[in-house]
Amino acid sequence: MKVELKIQRFDPVKDQEPHFETYAVDCEPTDRVLDALLQVKGLMDGTLTLRKSCAHGVCGSDGMRINGRNRLACKELIQSQEQPIVVEPMKGFKIVKDLVVDMEPFFEKFRAVKPYLINEDPPPAKERLQSEKQREKFEDATKCILCACCTTSCPTFWADSEFLGPAALVAAQRFIFDSRDQAKEERLDIVGEKEGAWKCRTIFNCTDACPRDIEVTKAIGEIKKEELFRKL
């Protein structure tokens, strides 16, 4: 089928401002939006720039705005898009070129919540025991692929770039609720600060954007509750 793509372009060397360009490609209805973009790049205009790798929604490379919503281009099929398909970079980070944004500030926030298991006891000879029930408390958050679709759809983040943002909060939830972790208090201190969980105004954009179907807002809610309870 014929598909029209309207892609936001920006070359930092030549352009003052981003602008849109339109391309017509021939696709199967079951092709991914990523396939259509790569067709443009491969056959029509090699300068079109985007990140990509796994092509099936597990690596988090190709978060972008597709018809106004943050999505992974490799997880959206052509047949379920309205035409023209409008493709823009994620909002809230500096555009490096075309659909590529600067991810450094995003990873910086991720690192800020101490996103790693902290347990200073000498490990046992075999595994530490954990029940399925204990694991289920943080399982949802472990699915995160750090694509930034949530953070870059969050109005609070757009208004205040200091806000930790939903992705970092999801990472914090993952460890705060892990029965094996010993640094809950430290993490609650971090997410309890003014740019942390309390900034979230429960708008649910993040949950809608998450390609891994993580209940992002719920995870943030759980952190808030935990933080509140320890003060009581």
Partner: protein, 578 residues
């Protein structure tokens, strides 16, 4: 334009499971280390691994590393080096425990231990029945490994150079001295002066048209080594996994069959019963992929086409949603089918490079078939060939391999760093890279990377895939020679310094072309069938002539092949029956 120079004792190229585990070991040994990766580490394809990591923990039923060893050797069609396999299967157990200690959220048994599931080719007591050996975290085990290791690297303050594309290895007089890399964000060239370099750059599945591999898996590390006169071992063995989504190649893990899923032909028959009466659908991948095509050739494909069905419908919604949630999501997203009620069209998909940079079990790179060690140069993970997978890898054994030998690489590098000083850099080590970049930027001739790449992928799939004959391989040889000529006329349209992926893709294609050449030439030379290498004109395994590893080098555009004997310790070669 010159290059920026950096100095680290250890450079790890690649931020997948192998690279990160090595970096973690190095950081614990207090070696100054930097990880260079063309992708953000969390984007590495280790994150795509679904089914699990094999280790004989015996958490749900009796098992031991010796059985794991037997299965690995038999699965390899007796081409694996048995001393290396022994190390791998023994250390698999401690490695899985260590992952748990680092925070990996494994699924648990009712007692709270790590849960285990069945997987292809893994059996109880030397082939008696399938065994539950694969330790898993739903169907995203690789994702959890990658995230956990990255998290721990952050904790240990490992230094990362993200989105740096390594283009060359600095090697002189048999001593490795560093690498040259291209910074993707701004086009600058960097020289990393080092005492030790590890290549952990992953696979090369993008050589084939239908593949489970990421766009980034273009075999860069192998190709760079090859151009620096390092041989590549056993390149003729490339695994084609039986269950890729029809036409797309996206993997549906063997875990589907481990949990009880079965394959059905167009008549609805469970055809694997006929080919592997004992373990049926859980036969090793080389065998299942061939059987699918035998069925297709016999007219038993679905609707007379070139695919069969994977049937999960009898597993029930509970098992599918809890143990195979991502796979269920792929089937829904990409095929619009519901795995709980619908049959899933599948087709074999190019999956895993058994071959690669030859290394020993300390992950030191071998410079020739005699075993001469290249000082300071290490390889681990899918880009390396230890060889623990021989002619066919068993499922769950790559994750074991990348971690066991990733860590071993880290430890041997640390030892080397303590004992040795920096070898001096040669003069202007960046010059060749600068020249290549300049050539790509200015070359004209109208050929497009995407077009040449697709032609390569098609010829490899058609002529060097599940079935091979001297005719198809000669066809591939001719095609590759032609495509290499076309590459000389490659035209990159993006001339910019900033995030120039157009140029990167051309470099990657260049790598794929060299690797395809040695793959096809090694396959042409091997006049027998073994594991994933199936020659219809030589359908039998020939131990008298071919119980040996190939070592391919390229000189002046021509492949040169040498051979090295297989290490056999416990298990004498036998006919492979399942």
């Amino acid at each position: 334009m010159g290059a920026q120079i950096h100095k680290f004792e250890a450079i790890v190229v690649g931020g997948g499971g192998a690279g990160l585990y090595a970096a973690l070991a190095l950081s614990k040994e207090k070696v100054q280390t930097a990880v260079l990766s063309k992708l953000y580490p969390t984007r590495s394809h280790t994150g795509a691994a679904q089914g699990g990591i094999g280790a004989a923990l015996a958490n749900v039923e009796p098992d031991n590393p010796e059985w794991h060893m037997y299965d690995t050797v038999k699965g390899s069609d007796y081409l694996a080096d048995q001393d290396a396999v022994e190390i791998m299967c023994n250390e698999a157990v401690t490695t899985v425990y260590e992952l748990e200690h680092l925070g990996l959220p494994f699924n648990r048994t009712p007692e709270g231990k790590i849960d285990q599931r069945k997987f292809g080719g893994h059996t109880r007591d030397h082939g008696k029945a399938p065994v539950q050996r694969s330790c898993f975290s739903a169907d995203r085990t690789g994702h959890m490994i990658l995230q956990t290791l990255y998290q721990q690297c952050i904790k240990n303050e490992v230094k990362f150079f993200d989105e740096y594309h390594v283009m060359d290895l600095i090697l002189e007089s048999g001593i490795c001295r560093g690498v040259v890399a291209y910074q993707i964000s701004n086009g600058e060239v960097h020289v990393f002066h080092a005492k030790t370099v590890l290549f952990a750059t992953g696979g090369s599945g993008r050589m084939f048209k239908i593949t489970s591999n990421a766009h980034a898996l273009t075999g860069d590390g192998m190709a760079v080594a090859l151009r620096r006169k390092i041989p590549l071992e056993d390149m003729e063995f490339f695994q084609i996994h039986p269950t890729g989504i029809y036409k797309m190649g996206i993997l549906l893990s063997e875990a589907c069959r481990g949990e009880g899923g079965i394959l059905r032909n167009g008549k609805g028959e469970r055809f694997m019963e006929r080919y592997a009466p004992t373990i049926k659908d859980l036969a090793p991948r080389d065998i299942v992929s061939r059987c699918i095509y035998f069925e297709v050739r016999d007219g038993n494909g679905v609707n007379g086409k070139d695919y069969v069905h994977l049937d999960l419908t009898h597993l029930g919604a509970e098992v599918i949603e809890k143990k195979l949630p991502d796979i269920a999501d792929f089937v829904r997203t990409y095929m619009g089918l519901n795995p709980v009620t619908d049959l899933i069209p599948i087709q074999p998909t190019a999956h895993y490079a058994m071959g690669g940079i030859p290394s020993n079990f300390n992950s030191e790179v071998l410079g020739d078939e005699k075993g001469t060690i290249v000082k300071g140069f290490y390889a681990a993970g899918e880009c390396a060939c230890v060889s623990v997978h021989g002619a066919n890898r068993l499922g769950t054994n790559s994750l074991v391999d990348i971690l066991v030998f990733g860590r071993r690489a880290g430890l041997s590098m640390a030892k080397y760093c303590r004992a040795n000083d920096f070898a001096p850099l040669p003069k202007d080590p960046e010059n060749e890279v600068l020249a290549q970049i300049e050539w790509l930027r200015s070359n004209a001739g109208g050929e497009k990377t995407a077009v040449v790449r697709e032609a390569l992928q098609c010829t490899m799939m058609d002529n060097c895939g599940v079935f091979r004959t001297s005719e198809t391989l000669q066809k591939a040889q001719g095609d590759i020679a032609e495509l290499k000529k076309r590459f000389l006329k490659i035209q990159v349209s993006d001339k910019s310094q900033v995030f120039n992926t157009d140029m990167l893709e051309a470099m990657e294609l260049n790598n794929l072309l060299d690797l395809a050449q040695v793959t096809v030439d090694a396959a042409f030379a091997r006049t027998e069938s073994r594991g994933a290498h199936y020659r219809e004109d030589f359908p039998k395994r020939d131990d008298a002539q071919w119980m040996k590893h190939s070592f391919a080098t390229l000189s002046a555009g021509k492949t040169d092949l040498k051979y090295k004997p297989v290490v056999i310790t416990r298990f004498q070669p036998q006919e492979r029956k399942y």
